[in-house]
Symmetry: C2
Subunit: 388 residues, 2 copies
């Protein structure tokens, strides 16, 4: 396995982007990433697109990557779609990483794109339930907010945590996202604002839940020789761990085996531990998810994440700033784009280009994504580690 | 890049398989491949599933691989879906191949699965058009049989070929498939039978078109050290080439740039040429497709494929037997499974286990798959080469 470097990153604004379709969103993000890399587009040897539900929202089920790249005059090269529900983007990144690390190619493009805002919210929730064990869960009416409300109830019960403490995750991430020009929900919220928002599924109000978003993000990965040639050897993509769950109905709901496994894999491959991470993007599709992931990633003891959050440790300026981009809660969650957008944020942090959101001394970053649900665990979890 | 070996293969029967759902089909093929490999299932380190339209037929859009593997008690490992329309299975195979070749894992499982027969044919055709440039083609009513009828008309016009000559492809492949217990359409046809079948899109009757199928296929890939340990070092997966088209509306319809590129890539990586291939599985979704692919793969000159077919060169016993399994026309075409099923056939041929369909002296095999369509070319073409 060869060393792999992040040569360029790009992303669109996230939000309900009227008039922006799959192909134009994808093209904007890829164009920006390629320009940022300093590499001519003719040198891209392979491309991977992460997108989860394109056919259900736009009828463009297949060929999404090919259509995006054609906009940029990139044709002929190997292109494929990678899908792993909300971890589609990070799974595509994993394949791009392995393709360069293997020696097969020197320059690979990974991007993620999703268009969701053209469909009513209730229908979006039905379509998202196609990312469960549909026969056992989705068809019985179990949808994402319900699953994470159950997890929140279990978490509060097990550790004596109050809903107001969950709300602090949302307050923090919105405060971070307020400074991010690409974020969808730019709001300065109080705990009371979060708690008084429309109830979705007790204890989760709408401000505990990420919004429905359109958007795209892209990253150009290169081998060491190309990185040196173009002067982009600063940020190394050290590892992308990927794991699935146990799907054991008897296990506690307050921990995700898939996250723990993906983290172990990524830490091992990257040769670092949780104590080395200086900035993290963590899959906060719902406020409670960030808390559980922080524990499964080894950033604090089980049951301590709410306390750690209250103490400001995960805020910019704290011990380990988490979701400096605003996270899914504020920045938005265009499903297939999310895992790549996390890497865009980390790359900018490690380059020292994050402006008011900059984390001082950020030299190792971690991104964590979770896709789908089955018996309260993710169908896929990814952990990506970047090293300056 | 390390050497990679095919340790085990498995597949279900193809057809309209009532009562067999995605997860049971996938599990049957994977179980057979794992048993065939002689490797304990606990040693599988990574899995890739190729499936193109699961959500539109079954509402199980995501987590297909995880659900299949859970049936076999395989949980926790990295799993992802790879999609490239009708080349989804072979694209999944490519990722499994690279994951072992890179040194990341020693044992990887690639499988493909599709369930299509539970939806009426007209609706199937609409859904399949989500594999075109939907905005420009699918939404205008352009569907697969229409595209390949245009290609057939252009081919006949350019080379002075008659519809009866196209029909000979179907006659041959059905004759081969008649001896394949897993084939869907076991018919001994004459050219007249093919020409008198129901017209679908002139000049293509239903017997020029592959049927709608359910099915699954799986392959276990291993590194050299594992291959030696379990005595499965006979069949090497030398390369999986993948390419896309030019999407140039001005180019001739009688050649597929995507196929040519994928072939060049695979020949180069495998260090062989078309003259070395002793048996081939070629994407005959429609009779004319086999002819064009034979030329683009370098097996004969442009315009000569109909003649070569008439002369029996591509029949079992001929110079280069093509689609000994029956091909898509007779064996069937459960989209995501097709690219993997081609490799099942080649592996059995290279092992000398193909019974009445055995090709004497088969030591190098080639499989070619095409996915989607855009301006009369494939959105993706793959060429896989196996070496004994």
């Amino acid at each position: 396995m060869r060393n792999v470097y992040v040569a360029g990153v790009g992303m669109t604004r996230f939000g309900r982007l009227e008039g922006m379709e799959l192909r134009s969103l994808g093209a904007e993000a890829c164009r920006e990433a390629i320009l940022d890399s300093g590499i001519d587009r003719s040198r891209i040897e392979s491309a991977f697109v992460g997108t989860a539900f394109p056919g259900h929202f736009t009828r463009q089920e297949c060929a999404v990557g090919q259509l995006v790249l054609r906009q940029l005059g990139i044709t002929g090269i190997p292109v494929m779609r990678v899908e792993n529900a909300c971890a589609s983007g990070s799974s595509a990144l994993r394949e791009a990483w392995i393709s360069v690390a293997s020696g097969l190619v020197d320059v690979a493009l990974a991007f993620g794109v999703e268009k969701l805002s053209n469909v009513p919210t209730s229908e979006v929730m039905s379509i998202f339930s196609y990312a469960s064990d549909y026969e056992a869960e989705g068809s019985a009416g179990i949808i994402f907010p319900g699953v994470f409300a159950m997890i929140a109830q279990a978490y509060m019960h097990e550790y004596g945590v109050r809903p107001e403490q969950l709300a602090e995750v949302s307050v923090k991430n919105h405060r971070h996202g307020f400074e991010n020009p690409r974020a969808q929900r730019k709001l300065l919220l109080t705990v009371e604002d979060v708690q008084k928002a429309k109830m979705v599924c007790d204890p989760l109000t709408s401000m505990h839940c990420c919004p429905i978003s359109d958007g795209a993000a892209a990253v150009v990965l290169v081998s060491e020789s190309v990185a040196r040639e173009v002067g982009r050897g600063q940020i190394r993509l050290a590892a992308v761990g990927l794991a699935t769950g146990d799907y054991d109905a008897e296990r506690p709901l307050t921990t995700f085996p898939s996250t723990r496994r993906a983290a172990e894999q990524a830490y091992r491959l990257a040769g670092v531990g949780p104590e080395d991470i200086k900035v993290a993007e963590v899959h906060d599709c719902f406020s409670v998810a960030e808390l559980v992931h922080l524990e499964d990633l080894g950033f604090c003891e089980r049951g301590d994440a709410a306390k750690v959050t209250s103490q400001g440790e995960t805020t910019i300026g704290g011990r380990l700033p988490v979701n400096t981009s605003g996270g899914l809660l504020s920045k938005g969650h265009p499903v297939g784009a999310t895992g790549i957008a996390q890497v865009v944020e980390l790359t900018e942090q490690l380059r020292g280009h994050s402006g008011p959101r900059q984390v001082e001394g950020a030299n190792v970053g971690l991104a964590m994504c979770m896709g789908g649900f089955m018996f309260g665990d993710g169908c896929a979890a990814t952990v990506t580690i970047l090293h300056r």
